[in-house]
Symmetry: C2
Subunit: 495 residues, 2 copies
C-alpha cells in the first residue's frame, strides 16, 4: 500500500514511529505498536505505528525527523508500506513478565532493540516493571551489564590496569572525584573518569568540573586527554557509552523506582565501557542518602562484589558517612572552590579525608604499598595539584585559575544561630532544595556555603550557612519560600 | 518562566504532552514526565513534559493540538510555565507495583486520571503490568469496573430490567447478536446492545450490522432507538462508554497480555455503562478460541459470577463449542446473509441453535416461562424478523433488504475435496487469516463461505469452501499466499 508522507518536522527522540489514519490501519490490518516497513526507492526503515482517529488524513503517513532522515524523504512524497513481524525481543520481555529467567542471548536482544530504537516506550516499560517486580538473577544482571556495554560505544585505551570510581550519591557537596582522579593519575595510573550532570541534585560532578574546563568531549578527544595526562574528568552523558542504560533510567524515573538488578548493571556497565579493571564504590549510608541502613548496605555490597566477580572486574565498596554534606560548598562554583582549596592543602578536612580514603583503596587494589601514606604525600606535596592542572589544561580549561577567580553569586544571605548551640543534624534534602531554589546547578555561582557541620559548636549570632544566588529575585524567592532552617541545633546553657 | 509556543499541528491522541528543550528543562528543574502548568491569559492546562535534546529550540515549547485547543493558543504566542505536583494516582500505581491492594478511592483516582489524560502511556503501562504480575483481588476488580463506568459516559434508559449479552469471542462466524437482540426485543424486553468492530478478527458484530444500517450514533440517538424498538445494535467504540478501558486495552495489546482482573472489569464495565441488569456471557471453549480448556473456563466462570454479585448484576455463563465457526459465512456481508436467512428460517442450523440457547438463557433470567420454546416461537413466527427490521429502520438502514441485495465479492474461488472424506477439524486461525487476506472486514463482501462443518461427509470434487474478494488482486494474492487448506479431512475408503 502506498501512502503520502507528511513530515512532522519534529524528532520523536525515542523509537522510530509513524502515525497512520485509523481507516488505513484497518486496511493494512495493523494495530497500535505493530511494525511496518517503509520503502522509498532504495531506502528502507522499519517503524512502530501509532494510530490516530482524527488528526491524520486518510492516505497519509506522518513521520518524525528520524524516519524522514533515514528515508531521505520529503513532504508529499509517496512511501510503500508493508507489514513487518514484531521484534523477537518482545517474546523475551513477555518471558520475564511471566517470571522466567532470561538467557544472555535474550537479554542482549532486548538491549540491542532498545538501542536501535526498535522498541516503544510502552514496551520498554514492560521490561523495566517485569525486572522490578520479578527481580533479576545475578546472572541476568551480568548479562544485562555486558549487553549494555556491547550495544554502546566504548573507550579504547588498551592499557592495564584501568582505575575508576563511582559514588552511589544522594548527598550534596560530596565532590571527591577531581581530587581522587588527580592523586591516582599523579601516581601514574590510568583513570578515565566520566561523570553525570545533576538531575535532581545541587550539582553533578560534571557541573562542578565545568567551572574549570569544558567537560563535553568526543570519545577520540577523551582518549587523547587520558593518553596525555593519565586521567580525565568529563561528562559521560554525550558519549553514548551505555545508551541503553539512559533509556532504562528514563523509564525508571517515571515512578522513581530503582530495580536493583538494573541499577547494578547500569553502574557497572558505565565502568566497563571505559575499560575499568579496578573500581572503588563510595556507598554513603544514612538518612537522605540512597542507602539508608547498614543492613541494606551489606546486601548491596555483596551483590556488587558477586556481580564484579562474574564480570571479571575488581571491586571494593567503601561505606561512608552519608548523614551530612562532605565539603562546605553546595553548588558548582562553591564546590569547585572546595576542590581547589583541598588541592592547595587549605580545603575542608572531611572532604580531604574522604578523598584520601577512596584514593588509597584504589591504589591498594593495584598493589601500591602504604597506599594511604602515598595518597597523602601526593596531595600534600602538590603533585596532585600539578596533575589536576594538566588535566584541566588538556580539557581546554585555564590551569592557573585561582580560588578568587571562581565567581560566586553576588547576592547572598547569612543565616545565623539564634543562641549558643551545638549542631545536631544537617538535612540533606532540605539543603538541596534551598540551593536549587537559589539557582544551582544552572547558575554556577548559586548554592549554599556551610559554616558548620555536625558536632560543631556555634555562638549566638554566628553564621550557620550562607545562601548565594546570581540573581536577586532567586535569592528573595528562596528566602520567602524556605522558612525552615535545614540545620538542627541543640541549645547550650551558659555555663 | 515564559516560553514561546510552537504548534505541532498534530494530535497526541493520548495524554496532554508538551516538549521542552533540555536546557529549559534544567532551568525549570524538570525531568521527563514531570508536570507543568501552562497559563495564557485566563486559560490553563496541566501537561506532561517530554524533553528533547536537539529538535526543540531553546525558549520554545512544542504543543500538540489538544493543548493548543485548551489554551486557545497560536503559534509564537507566549505561555507561562510553572511546576505542578505529580498526580496522586502515581503513588497508588506505585502501591500496586509493590504488591499492595488498592482501595476504591485509589482505583477511582487512577482511572479518573487515565480518562482526563493526566497519565502518560509509560505510567499507564506501570499500572497494567502491576495488575498483570501482582493480580487484582475480586474487590479491586469490582472497584475497577465501577471506576471505569463512573468515569465514562452512560446510557440513561431508566428501565428495569435491562438485558445484555457478551461473547468472549475468538472464533469466526459467531454472529448470534442480531438474532438474540431481535428475539429479546420482540418479547418486550430492553436490550441496548453495543458491539465492537474487528481488531484482529474477520468481522466484528458492528462491521456485520453495518451491512444493514449505520452503527455509529451519538448516545442520545441510541436512547431514542431503544425507546422506539426496545433494542439496538450499534458500535460502542465512538461512545466513550468506558473510555478508560479503551486505553488499558491499547497498552495490553502491546504485549498481547490479558490481565484477568482488568479483562473482567473491562467486559462488565461496558455492560454496566448501558445499565444492564441481566447479562448472558457466551464463553466458547476450544483450540483457537480465547478459553482453551474446560478447567480454565470454570475458573473464569466462577470469577465472573463473584464479580457480578459484587456489582449487583445478574450473570449467566453459557459454555459453548469454540472449535469451529458457528455460521457458514465469515466476513461482514457473508455473515449478514446468514443472519437474514436465520431470521427468515432458512439459515444455518448451528447459528440458529446457538442464538436460541443464549436468548432463552436471558429470557429465563427475567422470569419468562419455557424460555427456549418462547424464543423459538418468536423466531419461527417471524416476530423476531419484524423486530429486526424495526431496529434496522430506526438506525437508518433499509428494513426491506433481501438476501440477494447483500453484495458479495464478485471474485471467487472454490476449494474442493480431493477425495471422498469426512471433515475432522476446521482451523479457526487459518480461516481468519485467509478471509482477512481476501479483504475482510474492510471489503465488506470479502471472506469465506463454508460448505462443510465438522463431521460432514463430502465427495471427491465437492466444494469445501469458497473464498470471496471484491478485488481480483486480493483473491490472487490470497490463493498464492495460502497453500494450506484450513480444513482437515479424513479420507473415506469407497465402500
Amino acid at each position: 500500500m502506498e501512502l503520502k508522507i507528511r513530515n512532522l518536522s519534529i524528532s520523536s527522540g525515542g523509537p522510530l514511529v509513524a502515525i497512520l489514519n485509523e481507516e488505513d490501519s484497518v486496511k493494512l490490518d495493523l494495530k497500535a505498536l505493530d511494525r511496518v516497513k517503509l520503502k522509498k526507492g532504495s531506502k528502507e526503515a522499519v517503524v512502530i505505528i501509532d494510530i490516530a482517529k482524527r488528526s491524520i488524513k486518510k492516505g497519509t503517513i506522518s513521520l518524525f525527523d528520524e524516519v524522514i532522515n533515514e528515508l531521505q524523504a520529503k513532504n508529499n512524497e509517496k512511501v510503500c508500506v508493508s507489514q513487518e513481524p514484531l521484534p523477537q525481543s518482545l517474546q523475551y520481555i513477555k518471558k520475564k513478565l511471566d517470571g522466567g529467567d532470561l538467557s544472555k542471548m535474550e537479554i542482549n536482544e532486548i538491549v540491542k532493540d532498545i538501542v536501535l530504537k526498535k522498541l516503544s516506550e510502552v514496551e520498554i516499560t514492560y521490561f523495566v516493571v517485569a525486572c522490578y517486580i520479578n527481580g533479576l538473577t545475578l546472572y541476568e544482571s551480568a548479562y544485562l551489564t555486558e549487553a549494555i556495554v556491547e550495544n554502546g560505544k566504548k573507550l579504547s585505551l588498551k592499557k592495564y590496569p584501568i582505575l575508576d570510581k563511582h559514588s552511589l550519591g544522594g548527598i550534596p557537596g560530596n565532590r571527591t572525584t577531581p581530587i581522587v582522579v588527580s592523586i591516582v593519575a599523579a601516581n601514574g595510573f590510568i583513570i578515565p573518569k566520566t561523570s553525570t550532570r545533576s538531575i535532581t541534585s545541587v550539582s553533578g560532578t560534571a557541573d562542578t568540573v565545568e567551572v574549570f574546563a569544558p567537560v563535553s568531549h568526543p570519545i577520540e578527544k577523551i582518549e587523547e586527554i587520558v593518553k596525555k595526562t593519565n586521567g580525565c574528568m568529563v561528562w559521560g552523558g554525550a558519549l553514548e557509552l551505555a545508551s541503553a542504560d539512559d533509556k532504562l533510567i528514563k523509564i525508571e524515573k517515571a515512578l522513581s523506582i530503582d530495580p536493583r538488578g538494573i541499577m547494578l548493571a547500569s553502574i557497572l556497565a558505565k565502568k566497563a565501557a571505559v575499560g575499568a579493571t579496578h573500581v572503588v564504590i563510595d556507598m554513603p549510608i544514612g538518612k537522605g542518602s540512597k542507602v539508608v541502613s547498614k543492613k541494606e548496605a551489606n546486601i548491596l555490597k555483596r551483590k556488587f562484589l558477586q556481580l564484579g566477580k562474574l564480570l571479571g572486574m575488581e571491586l571494593k565498596i567503601v561505606m561512608t558517612d552519608g548523614t551530612e554534606p562532605i565539603g562546605n560548598g553546595l553548588g558548582p562554583a562553591l564546590e569547585a572552590r572546595d576542590i581547589l582549596l583541598t588541592l592547595q592543602n587549605k580545603g575542608p578536612e572531611p572532604l580531604k579525608k574522604k578523598a584520601l580514603i577512596l584514593t588509597s583503596t584504589l591504589l591498594g587494589m593495584v598493589g601500591v604499598k602504604n597506599p594511604y601514606k602515598k595518597a597523602l604525600e601526593t596531595l600534600e606535596s602538590g603533585a596532585a595539584y600539578t596533575k589536576f592542572k594538566d588535566i584541566i589544561k588538556a580539557q581546554g580549561g585555564n590551569p592557573n585559575v585561582r580560588v578568587s577567580d571562581i565567581k560566586i553569586g553576588k547576592f547572598k544571605s547569612d543565616v545565623k544561630a539564634k543562641e549558643n548551640c551545638i549542631i545536631k543534624e544537617l538535612d540533606n534534602k532540605l539543603l538541596t532544595s534551598i540551593a536549587k531554589s537559589a539557582g544551582a546547578p544552572f547558575d554556577k555561582g548559586a548554592g549554599i556555603y556551610l559554616n558548620v557541620h555536625v558536632k560543631d559548636k556555634v555562638k549566638k549570632g554566628g553564621i550557620l550557612y550562607t545562601i548565594y544566588a546570581e540573581r536577586k529575585q532567586k535569592l528573595d524567592y528562596t528566602l520567602k519560600l524556605f522558612k525552615k532552617i535545614p540545620i538542627i541545633c541543640e541549645p547550650i546553657k551558659n555555663q
